[in-house]
Symmetry: C2
Subunit: 437 residues, 2 copies
């Protein structure tokens, strides 16, 4: 369709420079927080064999998969006609991480602490806070805390929660804004079994995850149809709650580990947190903002590495998306100004080169730019035809430059500090020496 404007695919984003800088600001926080806590970065393919995601992630994810295929491969096209794509765009990163860990389990350190950030894809209906392509940050701790090491397991869970909390704190959020709502699938599955779900604990957990999303009048009969006594479950759940995690006897180890990392104030036990992914085995948590929106979620997945052919490996991790986090920071006025972001990310021009209008000076602009850049400085110029120095100085200022350099003639410039509005004129070498990165 030449001549017509093509739209971007529904639920995806175009990042122009301002939006991109805001995104990089968040990604930079993700990265620095991960590194501070001793996590090392990994990445995998954007698409995987579809089985990587269908093995163990559960129906919720599988129904939202984007299929992918190579147009060159005849056998792939044949399968497509049956509706089967060989590849899927990753809806989440954990299965890739499990595949990568399983492939090298014997050589990797114990524990292995990995972080990841990148795009994920879900073919769900786009709405506020939900897109079809979004960015996610994951932190995972693998190989620490076996079945007979409850304290080590609690330490790993607490470290995963602590890095998540540190990110939120470093964005300016407070414990009054957010709560890490913690639960344990193993404990809740036991309670559900006692209330009539024995043998169908996973189904009951998945239904529990829908509570609050589906009207109570509908969900009650669904539990009843499974033979679950919901009133009894609610009574048992009330007994699990406690003002502090460490006050809930079944969460005592985790509470102590959270306290020693200084993040217990951010946490609470919530017996109704189930998480939609099928692979969680024990601790699960959701980071809830203003008692409502989930900005992150995670949990323990002690069987997943084996599913991918690795040895039995305890594992815990979480994911945080950029979309809800950005909305929360904007709503609370915590996103810095674009000028501050440019400063934080090192995007301010160090120098803006201006000709004084003579042909000799015009010809000296490009060589001076090259010289400044060769010294590692971020140097810009105006491309306008104007010779009005006032206008060009305004361009320098609009670009956020630290210095304007006006080329006055052979070997002489005026150096103008645009932050304090001072200026000086002198030999080029001496003036340039004043601009340090």
């Amino acid at each position: 369709m030449p001549g017509s404007t093509l739209p971007s695919p529904k639920g995806t984003r175009d990042f122009y420079p301002i939006e991109m800088a805001r995104r990089r600001w968040i990604e930079d926080k993700w990265r620095k927080t991960s590194v501070r806590h001793g996590f090392e970065e990994i990445d995998g393919p954007t698409f995987e064999h579809v089985e990587v995601f269908t093995i163990k992630s559960g129906e919720g994810i599988v129904s939202e998969i984007f299929g992918a295929f190579s147009g060159k491969d005849e056998t792939q096209l044949e399968n497509l006609k049956q509706g089967h794509a060989p590849f899927a765009l990753r809806p989440e990163f954990t299965p890739t991480l499990a595949r990568m860990f399983a492939a090298r389990a014997k050589q990797l350190p114990q524990p292995t602490k990995w972080f990841w950030q990148g795009p994920c894809f879900r073919a769900e209906r786009p709405q506020r806070g939900r897109l079809r392509e979004f960015l996610q940050w994951n932190c995972d701790i693998l190989g620490m805390g076996g079945p007979d090491q409850p304290k080590e397991r609690a330490t790993a869970d607490a470290e995963a929660i602590a890095v998540c909390v540190d990110l939120l704190a470093s964005c300016g959020l407070k414990p009054s804004d957010i709560t890490v709502q913690i639960n344990d699938r193993h404990i809740v599955a036991g309670m559900l079994a006692e209330c009539g779900a024995a043998g169908r604990e996973m189904q009951a957990l998945m239904l529990l995850d829908k509570r609050g999303k589906i009207p109570e009048a509908e969900i009650g009969p669904m539990f009843a149809a499974m033979g679950v006594d919901l009133a009894r479950f609610d009574a048992m759940a009330a007994g699990l709650r406690a003002p502090r995690v460490s006050d809930s006897p079944r969460f005592a180890d985790l509470g102590a580990a959270l306290a020693s990392l200084g993040v217990e104030d951010w946490c609470a036990v919530n017996p109704y947190i189930a998480r939609g992914l099928a692979y969680y085995t024990g601790t699960v948590f959701e980071v809830i903002v203003d008692g409502e929106r989930a900005v992150a979620g995670g949990g323990r997945y002690d069987n997943l590495i084996e599913v991918f052919g690795g040895p039995p490996t305890p594992a815990v991790g979480f994911g945080m998306g950029d979309v809800v986090l950005s909305l929360v920071l904007q709503d609370k006025g915590l996103m810095p100004t674009d000028a501050q972001i440019a400063k934080d990310l090192g995007l301010r021009p160090d120098a803006f080169v201006i000709s004084n209008g003579t042909p000799e000076s015009d010809a000296a602009v490009a060589p001076l730019l090259a010289r400044l850049r060769g010294r590692g400085l971020h140097a810009r110029r105006s491309y306008k035809a104007t010779k009005n120095i006032g206008k060009l100085l305004k361009d320098a200022s609009d670009a956020g430059a630290r210095f304007a350099i006006i080329i006055e003639g052979a070997g002489e410039v005026t150096l103008k500090n645009l932050d304090d509005n001072t200026q000086d004129r002198g030999a080029t070498d001496a003036m340039l020496a004043r601009i340090t990165p």
Copy 2:
């Protein structure tokens, strides 16, 4: 397939921490070089409506597209049975950039200087230097140098080439290692027309691009079949060559612009460079290493913004992949050591916390980690059961930590500088104050 190890898709990569750090080192160079030259970062969706790529990129790209579709959408599945996917994973970024520029052309500055880095996907046969998912860096200058402004056009072309050369120079490459081989499609199309290809210039250009890739004995008859007098073209081409770009009369403006940016030494005119993409309109260039491998390529695409519904807009840009660049740097011994990369990227731990083995000291490890991280420091610990301080100090050293902190008792630590092997014991506050980020 539970229990079996799943492979990653053919032609894709798993980045474990060491490979990831090497990749981030290259991406960091791409980013910093772009910013130094005044380019601003953008990004678009990983997949686009397939038409975005089929409009104007040419057959080479279209035959290598990965199709993508949402499993939720019935009409998409119906089309799939005909072999048509609604979306494509981007094989290159330029069409997305053109779509984005066209959508906001009126509000964007003239010129607009954008850079991008991210994954691209091509369903070609994987081989050394070619993968199905790879990273690419693009720099583009849009809206500068109209049809009657040859000097401004040359300046834009030269700026695009200069940022590419600066990246290579900042990696330690020299003009003796690489050449930016420059050509002009408009000039060569004219020559081809004179040699018998009038009306079929684009076909002849695409065939020229295959020269050197297909045996000369096969390509000769293909030109002959088009009615092109190849011997005559070769004679005309010889006349276009010159030791320096500015010595070739038809490239005089570009030569002068390259010289003023200090990069003419890196460049040469090569009348056989055609580039495979259909949308190039004038200047085209390839960065060739050791006279053989192409590490980057680009050119002028003055009609593409209009194709995407925008106003007529002169544009020039290039793309560089990470795969060939990495191979070249490795082959030439220019990739830094992993320790140097960790230092360059700020990945070295600032502090490694060690208990002296008493229960009180053990309990103080986590709170001290939290305190150090709260100060913005990268702090780690050992998770081993050992109480052997010598072994733990070795762990600290293996992790590349700057300092080890041994908790000696209430409010007292030993601070060991692992770079100069000095140590001191004293009050925790005083010792920690010596660790600056």
